[in-house]
Symmetry: none
Subunit: 214 residues, 4 copies
DNA sequence: CATGAATGAGAATTCATTCAT
DNA sequence: TATGAATGAATTCTCATTCAT
């Protein structure tokens, strides 16, 4: 009868359909504000207003402002990850180079759209990283991708070391992020996409050679 | 470069010299706070207090808070750039691969030290990018490096396209930043450095092949 | 006093019985929160949650938050009063000094237990006093005790004036409250109890002398 | 040059005359609100407004709301203590009984005036006690008084034990507080004062007898 | 030039209470 | 009767910036 957890104020978990849609509205509102007005206009009152709820409602679903941002990032990452993984699994027999090219293509496309929101989200993410408050399970997404890749092609690809995997994934991410942050016109060119694909492919081939010399 | 004997300068241009040291104190204070307490403790009053000046004085040297941050970033970039350029120029005859390795080594070293301050600075930089208020001349630092590289070796290196240069420089920066932001233990390993160097070298070789096929 | 067999009552007046248990649950929950988390965690939502009811249900039984607190205090006072009265009535022939000692002993025991809840309750009570919203019939409890005392021993004790009664009762209460509020270790010592008894007895004897000089 | 205490935001300490008067204004405003409107109208904005300062100024002198209340209590206690001590020291040769009577007279007078403010202050004090945040040196005021008393009369008075001193001082305080809180009309009567004096005197005489039996 | 007291808009968060279901 | 989602006024506190001295 009594609550198990008296200390923590238990925020409503979105089990009901209504609750779910409320949470979605709030996150959508936050994204909109990030897109339209930028990070420093992003305050809880504005989010609630734009979502069409009172500020009190917002706080029934999120313990604090940060939780909203974290959820935003979590969802965005999950979506990206899931897209990439399914892309990899869709054509297991495809040559690695081709798959890499298609992943890069997908990523470039994703980063091209919704630049403004992404820009602000990057800043937010970086701050959360700096504050140590981003859940640990956020970062290693990239490893799953690499693992999926290997699995899909039956491990006949030389395994990447931890350091190699880290460098490769962060490099791709870093290039895309920076392109968005700098509003670089390159982002829209095929040359950019080609260069990024080249980065991935050349690295993987070299890493492969290194791992298994003739 | 502009200064020789500090004593003399103090006599000659007392105000400017004093101003310079005041500005330096303020920037140093800001860096300290970023290091010790993180970005959200960084407010103008705290900076002034730590610098040993009154808040009024701070505003005599900087128009607003952002100006302090911008100056911080400008100086940091300038220092890095200058180190890299002089590294490149020091051994013009060295093979490109070796130079790349040494640049990577230098960069990794720089990012390893002062991680905490750098972490906060990254966040700040990203926000300034997002707000569009970073002066345009901040970003293309990397191009200078590439130009310096080519110059130093008499252009016998195939020229990198804009897209290639962008991708390469942002990739390196992105990997290092992310390593710092994630507090990755990899940053301290030789494997990490090796992988990063590999990224650069393999990309340059492929880009070269592409540019000038046999 | 009003109840005999709980089973039977449930059958006879199901709604009232249910209501009673609901009210009791709510009050118990409030007491628990006061004990475990202190006064400023005591909010209606928390009470309802801990009681296992919805907030709406809580408002079906209490018009507002204050009503809960008042009821809490009323019950606590009633319980104390009733214990003391029955203690007095249990040994009418006992010398006044001895009865005083036993009352003090009882009170000290009551205050020793449940200190934390009592602490918060005191604060709440005091605020209600300050807001004038405590029902008037709450305070004079002490008079009943004194009256009961006199009755029990057939008025052969010199009557205490209003002022004397006020001072005596408030003194005892004040000492005990303060001991609880200060978390005084004295509260657990026999010396404390002895001193408090001395306060009561010496005052009564002097008041007696004053009232009826030889 | 750099601050010693980077973590703690150092609030201005009232060294300057202006600062001192600002602090005084703020405390006076708080007292007024307590008097005129009661505790739950006492919010920081109201205090600042009534003091004629902006809210920001208030927070330059007090780290948080509680600090204002604590300071209020500290000052009030200090004033009372100082009055009583000087009363005791003014007539060292006076019989203890007479001094007790005069102390009681003084206290009753103090509590009679400014009842409303005192009422709210009591509530506040009690809450602070409950939260453990009242500085330790607040409570033992009473001991100083007792010590002063003994000193003033050359220790020919039997020493009170800790328990006795606690009981006596808290009893007096408790009676006066309760009289104020209940708005008791007794507070204005000579009978009340007489009864309170009696409480003190009879207790001290008995305690004395107990300590040094013939 | 330097000072630092003062400003006040703005942001996050709480919680008693209502009311449609 | 019971529910619990929603409300929104109210409150605490921050911090970039100004300006009289």
């Amino acid at each position: 009868m009594n609550e198990a957890n008296p200390q923590e104020i238990v925020r409503k978990r979105p089990k009901q359909a209504r609750a779910k849609s409320t949470v979605d509205s709030i996150l959508a509102a936050a994204t909109q504000i990030l897109t339209d007005e930028g990070e420093d206009r992003l305050n809880t009152n504005a989010i609630a207003r734009r979502a069409g709820f009172s500020i009190g409602t917002l706080y029934q679903y999120f313990p604090d402002k940060e939780a909203i941002l974290v959820e935003l990032i979590v969802r965005q990452r999950a979506e990206m990850e899931q897209r990439i993984v399914s892309l990899i699994e869709s054509r297991p027999e495809e040559p690695a180079e081709e798959t890499a090219r298609r992943i890069v293509h997908l990523l470039v496309g994703l980063f091209r759209s919704g630049r403004q929101a992404r820009k602000s989200l990057f800043t937010v993410m970086l701050r959360l990283f700096a504050t140590q408050s981003l859940p640990q399970n956020l970062s290693p997404v990239s490893y799953y991708i690499i693992i999926a890749w290997r699995k899909a092609r039956g491990d006949n690809l030389a395994p990447l070391s931890d350091a190699d995997a880290f460098v490769l994934t962060r490099a791709v991410r870093g290039v895309l992020r920076q392109a968005v942050m700098e509003d670089s016109p390159l982002l829209d060119t095929p040359e950019f996409e080609e260069a990024l694909a080249l980065l991935v492919i050349s690295f993987m081939q070299r890493a492969e050679q290194k791992a298994s010399p003739p």
